[in-house]
């Protein structure tokens, strides 16, 4: 149901105009999401109880006996002495120009702090995502192909297990087994590919489990459909049907959850990078929350929304090409509309 919702919306959007207009509309929606994420984080971070200035002064460690002049200066600097609407408009105008302010404890511009941390996390996410797709896809294919019931049940029970186990625990167990006992991989740090292996596996477990769950469900649905019956009647082998027919149909709905999944991986990096003491976006998030560094947090929320929008835009662009039913609907309708 969740998979057919966005799919149906995409199909409808595509029917209303050509491919170009479809993409343009999707991009406009993406801009709206970005704006809303910015506004939302502004509301949460600046309007909730708690005075930003006192948080800032506490964060820098000189909360006691501050000079009222300094407080006033800080207020003026962040436009906190003007009305909320004015504050918001200032912040929005700056953000549109790519300026999210500066970190409170370090004074470093938010965009630079994020840009420095981003490559590490991108590498981690990319490796981890690949692992999750391979492992999750493999598990789903295996669990729908196996016909021996006990093994099938074991395989099908793995994804719910992967979703339920805390990421930090997986990371710590892997650390104990493969860094301290076996000494195969370094325990901490960013140096080289070997330091990436354990964090990537840790981050891949919950994501791979979700992929496996969705794909296994869709594969099972595909196996019940008439076209598989036709293929079997033609005498095709089970493997051939699984790979050429069921997998092709079953993997399309998986595309729709990629946007959310990548966002969740960025959030998961907060825990994973803390466990493995890696530098990156996650570590930056953890440190910023600990220091109540509001501008950096806001930058990170907008960044995650940006990632979500970009990944979804890419999925939207590919979707009609992968799922021929959407494109064909349009082509079939076109002559009728021309007649009318």
């Amino acid at each position: 149901m969740t998979a057919s919702g966005p799919a149906a919306r995409r199909a409808a959007a595509l029917r209303r105009g050509g491919y170009g207009r479809y993409l343009a509309r999707r991009a406009a929606q993406g801009v709206f999401v970005l704006w809303a994420a910015f506004t939302l984080s502004f509301v949460v971070l600046y309007l909730l109880p708690g005075d930003p200035v006192s948080i800032m002064l506490n964060a820098t460690g000189d909360g006691v006996g501050v000079d009222p002049g300094a407080v006033a200066a800080l207020r003026a600097e962040h436009h906190l002495d003007s009305s909320l609407v004015v504050q918001y408009l200032y912040a929005l105008a700056d953000a549109v120009c790519g300026d999210f302010g500066s970190s409170i404890p370090t004074g470093e511009p938010v965009t630079r702090a994020i840009a420095e941390a981003l490559p590490q996390t991108l590498a981690l996410t990319a490796v981890s995502f690949t692992l999750a797709v391979l492992a999750g896809g493999g598990l789903a294919l295996l669990s729908t192909s196996v016909r021996w019931r006990p093994l099938r049940r074991v395989l099908l029970s793995l994804p719910p297990l992967g979703v339920s186990v805390p990421t930090f625990w997986i990371g710590l167990i892997l650390l104990q087994l493969f860094s301290f006992r076996a000494q195969l991989f370094p325990a901490t740090g960013n140096a080289g590919f070997s330091a990436l292996v354990l964090p990537a596996i840790t981050l891949a477990v919950p994501t791979g489990a979700v992929f496996a769950q969705v794909l296994a469900k869709n594969l099972a649905a595909a196996w019940r459909s008439p076209f598989v019956e036709t293929a079997r009647a033609k005498g095709l082998s089970r493997t051939h049907i699984q790979l050429r027919h069921a997998l092709r149909n079953g993997s399309i709905p998986v595309l729709t959850i990629i946007g959310i999944t990548v966002g969740q991986m960025l959030a998961g990096a907060v825990v994973v990078e803390t466990v493995f003491s890696r530098n990156g976006i996650g570590r930056l998030t953890e440190e910023s929350v600990a220091a109540q560094d509001i501008p950096v947090i806001q930058g990170l929320v907008v960044l995650s929304a940006l990632v979500f929008v970009l990944v979804n835009l890419a999925v939207d662009a590919v979707y009609p090409l992968v799922d021929p039913r959407i494109g064909r609907l349009e082509r079939r309708r076109a002559p009728q509309e021309a007649l009318a």
Binding site: S164, P166, V289
Partner: protein, 300 residues
């Protein structure tokens, strides 16, 4: 049919049948259902154990969670200390038992916040409809596009640290999904004939909303609340692990794992066992809620 058969029966296999009149017949069915689904029975037992820890910790351990025996520090698990001891000689099992209260309280608050806020938003949005509904649902879409953990972290930044604030933050992250599910059900209930009949008979809009629409739209959200429990335990323990929950001497589950990180090489039990308890609780909660989801679906 299956719902009536299986669901209350698995409950009665643990708790005595309250009605009693159908005693022997129903208990036989319960046993059969239990044998058919051993995983579910195990999940119920785990959940009952953890609930017992939370409400009556002194029944499960005679030690104190805050004072240790320095002589016995960093003892490996054994007959004396089931889960071993930490660097101050405190019994880890006792700390896990007492930690259940904090962690489950946070989970309950998180689910309650998400449920109440999300249900209200969905109810009003679905009932008012029109442009208002459009705006609210766009906002919900945006909330769903921000990963839950990150949203929780942003809320924690604004509210400050502590168990309750972490719980609220986790709850806020789930408001959007509650609102969306509730709104869909309100939309469905709104078009029912009995709502039309109530409108025609001159029942006021708030009364229709509360007495006719709400009861019919509540089913899926309740199932979602059950499904959210496991996720909430995970999110609360993750935030507590990151150090944003209760301050150090408090035995919160995530914080226990985090404390054990300094002894990874020498004392494996300090991280492994509390983490295992978290994993087992989440697994049990998810297993039960999946059973509720599948069987509860027949009621709708």
């Amino acid at each position: 049919m299956t719902a009536v058969e299986l669901l209350p029966d698995t409950a009665t296999s643990v708790v005595a049948d309250p009605r009693g009149s159908h005693g022997p017949v129903r208990r036989g069915g319960a046993l059969r259902a239990a044998v058919r689904r051993p995983g579910l029975v195990l999940a119920v037992l785990v959940l009952l154990l953890v609930l017992g820890w939370a409400f009556f910790p002194e029944w499960f351990t005679s030690r104190d969670p805050f004072t240790g025996v320095p002589r016995d520090k960093l003892t490996a698990p054994g007959a004396e200390y089931w889960f071993g001891t930490d660097h101050l000689g405190r019994d880890l099992y006792t700390r896990v038992v007492y930690g259940a209260a904090l962690s489950l309280k946070a989970t309950a608050i998180a689910v309650a916040v998400g449920f109440v806020a999300g249900t209200l938003i969905g109810l009003v949005s679905g009932f008012v409809g029109g442009r208002f509904d459009g705006v609210v649902m766009r906002l919900v879409d945006v909330l769903l596009s921000i990963p839950g953990l990150l949203l929780s972290l942003a809320v924690v930044t604004a509210l400050g640290f502590g168990t309750v604030n972490v719980a609220i933050a986790v709850g806020v992250a789930s408001v959007a999904s509650f609102a969306r599910v509730m709104r869909a059900d309100v939309f469905r209930a709104r078009t029912e004939v009995f709502v039309e009949a109530a409108t025609v008979s001159g029942v006021s809009r708030p009364e229709i909303l509360l007495r006719h629409v709400l009861p019919h739209a509540l089913g899926s959200v309740l199932v979602l609340a059950a499904l959210e429990f496991g996720g909430a335990i995970l999110a609360v323990s993750a935030l507590s692990f990151l150090g944003f929950g209760a301050p150090p001497p408090q035995p919160e589950w995530g914080a226990l794992v985090s404390e054990g990180r300094n002894y990874l090489a020498s004392a494996w039990w300090l991280t492994t066992l509390p983490g295992f308890v978290v994993a087992a609780s989440v697994l049990a909660a998810n297993r039960i809620s999946r059973a509720l989801d599948r069987d509860g679906g027949d009621f709708r």
